[in-house]
Symmetry: D2
Subunit: 397 residues, 4 copies
């Protein structure tokens, strides 16, 4: 950060918890990675001017605004970082890309395949002009997950035979946990499926290098009415009532077939009592296996089936060494990183790709693929768990 790199002026739209995570990444990444462009935290946009100003001050953005459209008109903004709820992604992202701004958009890409397709189309048009879009599946950039991908790509577990992926949380176990926008289909698109199942799908596809082609699944809502807190008034359909109806799933169970025929078992739940943020995968191959749990994110379990039969077993790799993805930039051997570091890695990779004029990944096409998988699961669930091709989501959309 000697000031010799050209600047990359960022506007962030949204000021919820994800805004804090993204701000931390824009702030921290340049201090640990040599970036070809120097990110500048130029402007934070929020719907409420006062709250936006407060968040900008707290998080270190130079300015704030309550009008995202006006920000798109500014010449001194190069990239728009979208951390709003899913229903607003399409409109903002497409407008930003058309205005010539690079876009980083939180996951899931949209609330429907239709929106996601429009976004992917806009991204394709923009890319032809050297303007790029990326969707924020940051768990790809947890070093242990990246290492898993690298090991599979290098053939270290042989041919992938099967996988199991789950994302387990428990914040809805209490039936008195209050209603939020995340439980409203209009705003959130879906429930556990889209919120955390989307991560499970993206991670499974990323780590294995394969794509889902069809699914069979079941969604369920375990608590259908929840109390509305006074501060929640204004949510669609909840004004003035004591409870609101949960219109999204609490849990999704599905089986997915990948393009090479491999089957994966998937689960996403907000009712996994005692599990706080357990994104897990296990990939079994002809020569080995890999297992991961985000609740212990610095570790990767690796079974090398080619090792001496008397000593083989799952090894706990502490993914904190300079040999590991992204880790040379951080602390000495054995020093752990946390949740937020994936966002710094995302900034690094995004900035690198933009500077090189290359498409950053995961692209909006990648996001669209996940959206198709989400909707195929919903379709399947509505049709008695019938196997549903992701292609069928087009007509559904």
């Amino acid at each position: 950060m000697t000031g010799s790199s050209p600047p990359l002026r960022v506007a962030m739209v949204g000021n919820g918890f994800m805004g804090a995570a993204h701000s931390q990444a824009w702030r921290v990444a340049p201090r640990f990675f040599d970036l070809p462009l120097e990110p500048r935290m130029s402007v934070l946009v929020g719907r409420d001017a006062g709250r936006a100003a407060g968040a900008a001050a707290r998080w270190g953005w130079a300015e704030s605004s309550d009008d995202w459209r006006s920000v798109l008109d500014r010449d001194d903004v190069d990239l728009v970082d979208i951390v709003t709820p899913g229903w607003s992604h399409a409109e903002i992202a497409i407008a930003a890309l058309e205005a010539g701004k690079h876009v980083l958009c939180e996951k899931p890409l949209a609330n429907s395949v239709e929106e996601a397709r429009a976004m992917a189309d806009a991204a394709a048009r923009a890319a032809s002009r050297g303007v790029f879009a990326m969707v924020g599946f940051t768990y790809r950039r947890v070093p242990a997950a990246t290492l898993a991908r690298d090991l599979i790509a290098a053939g270290r577990i042989g041919t992938v035979r099967q996988l199991s992926v789950s994302y387990l949380q428990d914040w809805l176990v209490d039936p008195l946990a209050p209603f939020t926008w995340r439980l409203d289909k209009e705003q959130a698109g879906s429930g556990a499926l889209g919120d955390i199942g989307a991560h499970a799908i993206d991670l499974a596809q990323y780590v294995t290098g394969r794509q889902l082609v069809s699914v069979s699944g079941t969604l369920e809502t375990l608590v259908t009415e929840r109390p509305v807190l006074a501060e929640s008034h204004g949510l669609s359909g909840t004004a003035g009532v004591g409870t609101a109806t949960v219109t999204v799933d609490d849990r999704a169970l599905f089986t997915g077939r990948f393009d090479d025929g491999v089957l994966g078992g998937f689960e996403a739940s907000r009712f996994s009592t005692g599990r706080k943020n357990a994104l897990r995968f296990e990939v079994s191959g002809s020569l080995g296996a890999l297992s991961f749990d985000l609740e212990n994110l610095n570790a990767l379990q690796f079974y090398d089936g080619t090792a001496d039969p008397a000593t083989r077993g799952f090894s706990t790799i502490l993914v904190t060494e300079p040999e590991h993805p992204y880790m040379e930039a951080w602390w000495p051997s054995g020093h752990l990183i946390g949740y937020e570091h994936g966002f710094s890695h995302q900034v690094r990779d995004l900035v690198d790709a933009i500077a090189r004029g290359e498409q950053p990944r995961p692209s909006f096409d990648d996001g669209l693929q996940v959206q198709r998988a989400l909707e195929a699961v919903e379709l399947s669930s509505q049709n008695g768990s019938a196997w549903t091709a992701l292609a069928e989501t087009e007509e559904y959309a």
Copy 2:
């Protein structure tokens, strides 16, 4: 074992690995538990007279025979213990019950619902005469599993909300692993589904106290041709050829709905590289959760959601204390038991039930219920994972 208890004279049919496990249980249980009847290892039956004699000598049976029918005619046999492959269970068990012998039959109960129903009918008739039948789902009697059942029954995790159950092994990962009778549908009934999935189903039903009513699932065979070893000749359809076709599943993935509406995710696989005998369950309730893995069978994970929020977490209960099921009979605090102890617990419970004139559990009805679940999964898999009621297996059978 002062000799004051009346004898229970046992004939065991079968001399494979399961015979060793059952023999150990008949030998050991009376040394650690006060049994109301004194088991006597009277006669071991095997198809090959020489091998039966050898096994009898090694395992400590007083006599051997190569004719199970003749054993049923003997007055000095009270109980027949069936440890043969599944295709032979129905014939032997029904004949034994009709001959007035109590029966312990290995799982799965049979190779089809039709057979299982006939067995359950025979067991019902026998029970009316004070002659009892039991099916050998011994994992119910791993103390950690029994404790899980007890804790759920006592309301310690509140209302059961969801569960996940899997049974993972890896002995077929190598495509050159040879063909065996377990890969032949005629003899084995099904593959991973019936062999280990049956355990997963029984354990899920036992631990939760609920029954599956319908399923949606997918079976797959990952390696369809396997080499035939010389010693395997004589297997159906394999004589004189270099390979044989695998006619059973290698992996089963299914979702089951229980009678109270709860959904469970299930997986049974022989391709889970690095997992040797990982029968696992996690049951999530409104107040807590329980988690278990047979590869660490002396431990049970318990999450008490009613505990202090600052200190709650999954507790590793070392299930080796006198407060724990079956454990007072064994060693001092902290001393582990192994796989085989479940068989001794099975002997204790079976002998106790017979002496009291009560139906031992799991009964043949319980075994039939599992058989229905297995066939419903097969039916569902054949019908594009359509939800299939266990009742539908009747017409299928």
Copy 3:
């Protein structure tokens, strides 16, 4: 066990918990291992004739007696298995050896170096006549521990650099836990040090193939008075009083230097709240490391420092495969064994050695070496933790 092997007629002296474990081993070992001599459970000896008869019936001994000396006169006894408290070991073992009986003696060998030396001398004289003595450090024969020894001997962790060993229990944490003979120096010799620290020392020496030459340590007694239960009356010095004075250590902390200069840290405690039977070691070498915990006795942790830096980590070896020591005799891959199996392994190795006319290990010399280490720790503790050579225990004795 076809009866073709010559018999090995066993008399067991003692009928406490260890008697149950040894009985199980004599009963079970011949059923799983091909033994060159066929053990016969001939006679059980206890001080109280009635209790001895009851234990003999329960555990399956042909006869019982209340006079161990008379048993030594019998021609139909080949081996004496001593499972009494430590204070009685020397007298019985020496008499048995002089009577021409093989001896298996529980650990620790004796309550003093003086006694242990006399026993070792008697064993040396007997060995010259083909009569052998062994001391029962069975944890050497937990397959994971044996595997650790094998891996170190094969150079798989390179040169041993350091080790840490501990044996942690918690049965004395409650200050109201009653007084027992184990807390009386006269009867028990020492406390945590001799009871469980002895195992830690033997295992450390066995696994590394090295011997302790000097120690520096500290003993402490955390609760010095304990209530006497009515049934405990008769213990030395406790008759008629409400409490008794604990005259042994509750915890021992010491550092030991091995013959090749390596330092080991040791801890033995009965006050490790929550730890039930945690015998642990970690051995670090120039090329790798090994780690073990008896509370998960089927697992061994192995770090292979020569592996790829990106994937190395501690592997959890599930020591249940045919490649592992003793395991081929038991169950299929992935099936766990328990505490008692080490005793069956001990029987196998003892019977094999006797049949071959070779000295079984651990010998009484090995037991003497451990006894010297125990007393050196006591000496050091009395002398302000001054480094104390094991050789100095001779004059102390």
Copy 4:
């Protein structure tokens, strides 16, 4: 961070790895915590002007300097943050305190008790003028460690009975690992003892709320000569030679007695093959126990001995909830933090204390206490592990 808080202008002396960690803390803490003073990263001081300027640019310091003394003369510096090697701490810290600057000094406080006492005296004089000094034992501020302290202070494990503490790394296992200043007694004071053993001592004292009064220990150096890399030339006594002599310990084993009589076992090693940064403690009390490992820093193990005997066991508390120390400021439930977050917590607590005019902890007196313990261990090791009171270090100094 609205700019309404008064500034706290910081100068940091040192630009090694610790400088990166401290810079991150000064940068990040104000974004997550409401601080009563607003830290400003004013000036970074390094011996080499060019390197200092580069580090300042990378880490975000406004200015750089190669003269720490000149910085002390500046009115626009309120606090001096010392992250240099231990030999230089005393001079800089005392001068800074005398110049009226608050001081944050990395651990260990100094290379000798003599220096540490001078520093503590300077701190006492400064405190009387409202100028405060703190030593950087940041592991106190890993939330799991802070929670352990809180639980012990609240009596949740009853009376502390014993503890074991170790800090294990493996970066010196390779005998060809090059010589560095950390292996030179002149510069580093001691080896594993002072570098990581100091953390073990401070954490043990902090968590238990007790102080060490005497120790018995042994130091050893396992590799005494190491190669000198070209870039290391200039190290004392190494110029022009191929190897240098290691003059510090590689491993320290000691027992410490706390002021209430409790004994703790301690180990610090750089030869624990496969352990990268394993700072561990286990504290056993009359009612429970706590166990921690920095390699899984978001977890704390808690055994509640007062819980139901059938379900008690060590609970894995995922210390990521709003109920946990420091965690409300960070991410939602279940989201992990890393190594560096302890430094942000340190900044928060330091700034809070300064603003309130209270002594921040750990104070220089706390640092002096640790220094005394370190030197008592060295003294004991030189005297055959004789028990050595910390008070005796005065005359040694």
